[in-house]
């Protein structure tokens, strides 16, 4: 496993329902990031299609692997990079069952995927109307170490990040499409998830306006001690680079040993009480 590498937080604006254009933007950004030394480039949630596509999702969703992932695989192979992006994933076993999925591809091809577990369906969000929730946490093996994937609202539920950490991820990637009214929540929770897991956390948010929703950007790389190592601009397209050195985890993990101090028996109690809520 590589100890240190550069990550690019690629905070792009998407063209609604235009996969060809969004793949072009992804490729252009990956090439630019690679030139600056990035080995992992992360794009926002549903960056293949844009976030507010509503009923158009049925036409846009694709299986994985499928044409979109194959295109991004080629970009990854050509540039020798790992890429995380978001897309609506059509189940191969059904005709209109879709997941909100984060995909990780690398020089070796498709590494894996994560299907969003917590689908916001309140306020302006209507994800449960369109998506089936996932049931598996994802901690995916790469030459850059084990990478955990979570998506946006998952960050409100510490157990999702914690699961990836317990499966060995030392870098948790959170792709997001968060509108500006939620900024405070995410600025707080991203730091909290990194600290409580003593892990790196890369948060990449969408920018642009879709149906009146203004996505605030503000992507960030957070160190295991909660320090913000790189931060993208608010409200506009941006790409920032950060360096991940896994050796930085050790002193934090010894100073605040949250993993050592985990109490599994409490999780049974949590389950019991959550079922009775």
């Amino acid at each position: 496993m590589k100890r240190g590498f550069k990550i690019a937080l690629a905070q792009i604006e998407c063209k609604r329902a235009d996969k060809t254009e969004n793949l072009r933007r992804i490729e252009q950004t990956v090439v630019k990031a690679r030139k600056q030394g990035a080995e992992l480039i992360v794009f926002p949630e549903l960056s293949l299609t844009g976030y507010v596509v509503r009923d158009e999702i049925y036409e846009l969703a694709e299986p994985i692997p499928g044409p979109a992932t194959e295109t991004v695989e080629k970009i990854a192979q050509k540039t020798k990079t790992y890429i995380v992006f978001g897309m609506p994933e059509l189940s191969r076993k059904a005709q209109a069952t879709i997941h909100n999925t984060a995909v990780l591809v690398g020089p070796e091809g498709l590494v894996g995927k994560y299907q969003k577990m917590y689908l916001p369906t309140h306020s302006v969000f209507e994800e449960k109307r369109y998506f089936r929730p996932g049931y598996q946490a994802a901690a995916l093996d790469t030459k850059l170490g084990k990478i955990g994937l979570i998506i946006c609202y998952d960050i409100f539920f510490p157990e999702v990040s914690r699961l990836t950490r317990l499966e060995g991820a030392q870098l948790i990637v959170c792709i997001s499409a968060s509108p500006a009214t939620r900024r405070t929540f995410f600025e707080t929770l991203t730091v909290a998830r990194a600290m409580e897991n003593t892990a790196f956390l890369a948060y990449v948010n969408l920018v642009g306006i879709e149906d009146g929703l203004q996505f605030w950007g503000g992507s960030r790389l957070i160190g295991p001690n909660g320090r913000i190592l790189a931060k993208a601009r608010y409200d506009e397209e941006d790409m920032v680079m950060g360096t991940i050195d896994y050796a930085d985890i050790r002193p934090v993990e010894t100073f605040v040993p949250t993993l050592r101090d985990l109490r599994p028996e409490l999780f049974d109690k949590l389950k019991e009480n959550a079922e009775k809520l």
Partner: protein, 280 residues
Amino acid sequence: MELTSSALELDWQEVQARIERFIKDYVKKSGAKGIVLGLSGGIDSCTVAALSALAIGGKKVLGLQLPEKETRNATDIKHSIFVAKKFGFKTETIDITPALQAFYKSFSTFDPSDKVCKGNVKARMRMIYIYYYANKLNMLVCGSSDKSETMMGYFTKWGDVAADISPLMDLYKTQVRKLARHIGISKGIVAKPSTPALWPGQLAEKELGMEYEQLDLILYGLEHFMKTEEIAKQLHLNKALADKAKRRWLAAEHKRRMLLTAKIEYRTVGTDFRLPRDPF
């Protein structure tokens, strides 16, 4: 939650930026050449005109002054011109009195003593002029409704609320006042009493039954799912007043939503046809 005026405080710089981005983005995506809006000289239309000019440049913004003889107000006209000069957008003035009179005279059952029906004709007549210009010039109509009036249904259906975008609709009137001051709208415009100008002497606060400072806090409480008992208690007012505002808010939903139809087919316009609203 504490219902005080500080609950309505926002970062006005951020609000301004967000509204300007919204206007600019929508005009760009729609491919329109600019924005046309009704410019009454009141705080809402002056603020939205100024923000439009700041967002896309004054040359692409046209404010239409549409006075008519019963409600013509020299101060409002002066205020409109002042704001247009300050923010560098264009204006045109059309006296809609002849069109209104032609309408009144066109059928024998027109009742001039019914001021609400007659007033709504004025609001809809203004809408016709504004949309004519939008159509002719390939511009978008920018509405100036605020959240207080929209929640209370205090507008004319298909009249003053008719627009392609309504950038102030998520701000209560007292918030619009603060935003207006922040962007440099003069005190005289901000402080004068609001009126829909449907008949002489019409005043918004008188018709709504309370001052905006109080109404906005009631509505803010309702927005945050507070019960009217709690709202009344916190604001030291009669619960009946909060209940009345709540009833009015709920009763006006038909004015804010897409047309209702009988559900017959697989997917229905306005209910389960769910498509993005943004133009490509």
